[in-house]
């Protein structure tokens, strides 16, 4: 007797099903070929269909015991929700906001962490410089053999000078490519990624990087090539070392948020900090690319120390102005 009359939930389903199917077709088109493939009528219909399906879901939950319908509506509305409330900014617009606002603002917001990580690098570099100056044996402690590549305290002044101006005939592109996998971009990646563990691994990495830098400069200055090595380093180092320092700052920002979440839960705090830090990190990747180009081409082509200094210092100035210079306030987009 109960089955002979059609169930209300079944009638509900037959009445609404056409509009659910319509929404499904539109979603499929968007996921496959993008928003642009929709006709005008479909664009107008989309929000209406989304809301009516959402209301179908509420009604179904309250009155229907047909699991098939409820599961279907849940996954359909979730799919529509992710599209309607998903990221709708075009890629071009996204990239331009990144360069105009997001990246420099993130760097500016993290100035404290940047200062700390710069201080750590500098401290370690000075310390290593003094140690190696007094006792060249320290050099072997700081510098892994693979990185030294013959540039040790035992090398003659001529050999060292040679390394500053010639790179054994390697072509620029080759150096650029190998650079991407080199020590320094790994250091930057790890400085960011490990910051998560309460900043400590990041601080150690920055110190270690500073030690290498300091001891490296020390052996050259021992052979009175201090000025020359400065030019060799600064032409790309201004960008590269800055990038590593920023990566360290991004890592510390997250580490700090995990260690001291304040009012928020640790998870919330980490993901809040992660926003600015990952923006900055995207910028660091770009800086490292730029540094790779400077190292691959700039340093090979330009062997004059003064021009090297000029390029290095002016890139440094440009970065500083770009990050910390005053900029117009704009409404959030």
């Amino acid at each position: 007797m109960a089955g002979q009359i059609t169930l209300k939930s079944h009638r509900f389903r037959t009445e609404r099903e056409a509009s659910w199917r319509e929404l499904e077709v539109i979603l499929k088109a968007i996921e496959g070929r993008g928003m642009k493939s929709l006709s005008d009528a479909q664009i107008v219909a989309l929000p209406r269909l989304y809301r009516s399906t959402l209301s179908s879901l509420s009604v179904a939950r309250a009155t229907s015991l047909d699991q098939g319908v409820i599961l279907y509506l849940e996954s359909l509305t979730a799919r529509a929700y992710y599209i309607l409330y998903g990221s709708q900014v075009s890629l071009g617009k996204r990239i331009s906001t990144f360069f105009l606002r997001d990246w420099p603002l993130a760097a500016k917001a993290l100035w404290k962490e940047t200062a700390i990580s710069a201080a750590l690098t500098l401290l370690a570099a000075v310390l290593a410089f003094i140690l190696v100056k007094n006792n060249p044996d320290w050099f072997y402690t700081f510098m892994p053999d693979s990185m030294a590549a013959g540039r040790t305290p035992a090398a003659s002044a001529e050999t060292l000078r040679e390394t500053l101006y010639h790179d054994e005939g390697a072509d620029g592109l080759g150096i650029f490519a190998s650079y991407l996998f080199s020590h320094n971009s790994k250091v930057a990646m790890f400085a960011f990624a490990l910051g998560f563990a309460f900043c400590i691994p990041t601080a150690i990495l920055l110190l270690y990087n500073g030690f290498i830098l300091g001891s490296f400069i020390a052996i050259f200055s021992e052979k009175s090539l201090g000025f020359e090595v400065g030019g060799w380093l600064i032409i790309h180092g201004a960008t590269e070392i800055f990038a590593i320092i920023l990566a360290g700052a991004a890592g510390m920002h997250i580490g700090k948020a995990v260690a001291f979440p304040g009012e928020l839960t640790r998870t919330e705090s980490a993901s809040k900090a992660g926003g600015a830090a990952s923006l900055l990190m995207a910028g660091v990747v770009i800086m490292l690319f730029f540094a790779g180009l400077l190292e691959g081409f700039g340093r090979q082509l330009i062997t004059n120390d003064f021009i090297r200094y000029a390029i290095g210092l002016s890139t440094l100035t440009i970065w500083v102005l770009y990050f910390y210079g005053p900029r117009r306030k704009e409404a959030d987009t």
Binding site: M1, K8, A78, A270, S271
Partner: protein, 285 residues
């Protein structure tokens, strides 16, 4: 069947739309995520091997050095941007994730931004590649013990998703994302409508349709949809016993279940309209 329903409860998370409706998203299970990762890795590596041969053979004229350099660049880009490219798309899923029917979503009401996708993939390096590099580190270069300690330490990141209730990777934690199920919506047939012609053969008394609640109805629905002969027979016998139904001569087990399902659902839905939701057979409301 019951385990499917209770697993849904464990994996269920609230996602309230601006319209105020809880969409009840389901977290992706670990198996699906590992499956997706493996598929993606296969795609990346097969692609790279193909690219390798293409570049080497195509680039002979330009010189082997140039060809290898180009390959190194391609390798770098593909490895780093594969995940980001696909997860920034409208499906927010890599091909592997699509095949496993899962996707990346924002943990809050906020949109899934490009930054979040970047952040969650930037941490992939330490989560997976770092443990691997400790594992394959040659014994001579580094002390075995340091290697082991490194493996343990980095293993914390690798197994991170197993130790939190939302199955977040470290990257998800930082980016404010999680990975949820994104099944293709398939509207299953309404079981109550299929058997209109059978109804005359089955007439249940009010006491008989009072025997069960919503939970049993859903289990019954799953049994009918799965349609495994042995289960269908067992369940039909259990129900006949419970409601004291005498089996007719040519009565099929599945037909009986369908008819009883329709009757039970009709009864429970009517009561639902009056604001009474009977959870299960122990519910006395």
């Amino acid at each position: 069947m019951a385990s499917v329903i209770s697993q849904r409860k464990v994996d269920q998370r609230r996602l309230i739309t601006p319209e105020g409706i809880d969409l009840q998203v389901q977290l992706a299970d670990i198996g699906a995520r590992i499956g997706a990762y493996v598929i993606d890795q296969i795609i990346i590596n097969v692609g790279l091997v193909a690219a390798f041969f293409l570049i080497i053979f195509g680039g002979i004229s330009a010189g082997p050095d140039v060809a290898i350099t180009i390959f190194i660049l391609v390798n770098f880009f593909v490895r780093n941007f594969y995940y980001m490219f696909f997860e920034m798309g409208p499906k927010a899923a890599t091909p592997g994730k699509r095949m496993s029917k899962i996707r990346v979503a924002s943990r809050t009401h906020a949109r899934l931004t490009a930054n979040a996708v970047f952040a969650r993939n930037a941490l992939r390096e330490i989560e997976i590649n770092l443990p691997l590099s400790f594992l394959f580190m040659s014994g001579s270069a580094v002390d075995g013990w340091i290697s082991l300690l490194g493996l343990l330490w980095s293993g914390i990141f690798l197994f991170f998703p197993l130790f939190n209730k939302d199955r977040l990777r470290a990257g998800d934690l930082i980016a404010g994302t999680w990975v949820v199920r994104a099944p293709k919506p398939i509207l299953a047939k309404d079981l109550a409508s299929e058997n209109a012609d059978l109804d005359s053969a089955f007439t249940f008394t009010p006491e008989q349709v009072e025997a069960y609640g919503v939970h049993e109805l859903h289990v019954l629905e799953n049994v009918i949809r799965a349609n495994e002969p042995q289960t269908v027979k067992d369940v039909a016998d259990r129900i006949r016993n419970k409601i004291k139904w005498s089996k007719g001569m040519s009565e099929g087990d599945l037909d009986f279940l369908k008819a009883y399902y329709a009757a039970l659902r009709g009864r429970l839905e009517t009561r639902l309209l009056f604001g009474v939701r009977r959870k299960d057979k122990f519910d006395k409301t």
